[in-house]
């Protein structure tokens, strides 16, 4: 709080410097407006202060009263998140999402969240949210597609379309791939049907030929920013599979930008990290994040099937995600 007060005083002093020659009424008017503005911006300013405090490890976060090993681990993840935010610059809405794992709201504690709904978040859910916010520089994994359809998608939806490069790290690798005009036409048709608030959570899509895990697995897609999808998987499963895959991965970006929605989902369908009834697919039964991603993808591809399978999940999506 002391920092916030100091910041307010600095802002007031700075504004007074620009007001030389004004009369007293004007000065008071400006000071009132600045004070009002600072008051309204308090939550955001507090986030910024906490972000920098955590990022540079000066331990000034007033919420940090518990120095357990568990919290230290979470703090590492929190720093990862901030680093992602710094590096992605202005292209990701995830930039504005900050997580303080030490606050009561998100650490195994029931309480009122920002939307006024009771949620009980768990360590697993918070790990999933942090994982959803992982980003890499686009130039590291691809180069922007030069196809006219790609340009049209970027102009209309703000989504950068990348032809994937070949890359490898310790756990995953990818073989270079390229979008085709047909794939982009299908992709654009999917984008057109998505709610804007959902679509706007995604900034980039890269097409790889193949994605591989070092343990022999072949993922169809890798989430994050940019999202990477595999043309091998699409060729193998059919073009309709791409719709499911695209919406599935975009749901993870939605989670990154709307962590409260995932917390509420988990509290409702995974109380204490325990699945109460089956997701729409076996894969959705792995954790709350994949459960939501699978159900949202099914809601898009086959809404009636989703409604019949689980009216409650269907209704949650309709009210909280598809708006």
């Amino acid at each position: 709080m002391n920092k916030l007060r100091k910041l307010s005083v600095i802002l007031l002093l700075a504004s007074s410097l620009f007001m030389t020659g004004c009369d007293a009424t004007q000065i008071l008017d400006v000071i009132t407006k600045v004070a009002d503005g600072v008051q309204q911006a308090m939550p955001a300013i507090r986030d910024v202060v906490n972000t920098f405090s955590n990022a540079f490890g000066n331990g000034n976060n007033t919420n940090n009263t518990n120095n357990t090993a568990d919290n230290n681990t979470a703090a590492v993840n929190n720093n990862n998140n901030q680093q992602d935010n710094v590096e992605t610059g202005d292209k990701s809405q995830a930039n504005v999402v900050t997580i303080d794992p030490n606050t009561e709201e998100v650490r195994d504690t029931a309480g009122q969240n920002a939307t006024g709904t009771q949620t009980k978040s768990t360590e697993l859910v918070e790990e999933i949210i942090v994982g959803a916010q992982i980003a890499v520089p686009y130039t590291q994994v691809g180069s922007e597609s030069t196809l006219p359809e790609a340009t049209a998608i970027k102009n209309k939806y703000g989504i950068t379309i990348l032809d994937g490069k070949t890359w490898r790290d310790k756990w995953n690798s990818a073989i270079a791939g390229k979008w085709t005009s047909e794939q982009l036409a299908r992709f654009a048709a999917v984008m057109e049907k998505l709610p804007r608030s959902f679509r706007d959570c995604t900034d980039g899509f890269s097409m790889q030929k193949t994605l591989l895990n070092n343990d022999g697995g072949e993922p169809s897609g890798l989430g994050g920013d940019p999202i990477m999808i595999s043309s091998d998987a699409i060729d193998s499963e059919g073009p309709a599979y791409m719709d499911h895959l695209v919406v599935h991965e975009m749901t993870h970006q939605f989670q990154a930008n709307n962590p409260d929605a995932l917390r509420q989902w988990a509290a409702k369908f995974w109380p204490n990290d325990r699945l109460t009834r089956s997701s729409i697919s076996d894969y959705g039964n792995t954790d709350p994040g994949e459960d939501m991603a699978e159900c949202v993808a099914e809601y898009f591809v086959n809404p009636e099937k989703m409604r019949q399978h689980d009216p409650e999940r269907y209704e949650f999506i309709r009210q909280n995600i598809w708006k």
Binding site: N77, N79, D84, G131, D169, D215, G221, G224, E237, Y283
Partner: protein
Amino acid sequence: MTRSSILILMILFLGMPAFAMIRTLPFPELVQKAEAIVIASVDTQQVVSPADAKVPETSTTVKIEKILKGALEAEKPLQFNTPGSKGFVVRDRPRFPEPGERVVLFLVKNEDGNWRILNGVQGLWPVEVGSDKTLGMGFNYSIQQIEQELAR
């Protein structure tokens, strides 16, 4: 301090996305493709990666309780290295529960002769504590169904 922090952040940034979506094998194919299927209990877990690793690596050993399929030495513990740790989830990769808890493992052999888990997260079913209920991608199946599938 600031410079070194920025450097660390830049190094961390080179990590690749940790989300994924796998192609799910149909249950009969999962059972058929697995060269070994075992029920095992988690014995030890240890983070074996350096502290500054982009993605932590965890070594887990399990004790075999029951062999459902395949030729393994039941008394010999199995050891797996997986990406991630408590506090760092790597999606779609097998995630072992706490020591003492049980899992069903679908295994195939690597070229080097070591066992690996089949199809990532699909090949490790945690078992509910205090029951035989299978969880994860095994939520809609059971140990009994595996045995029935093997008997066909």
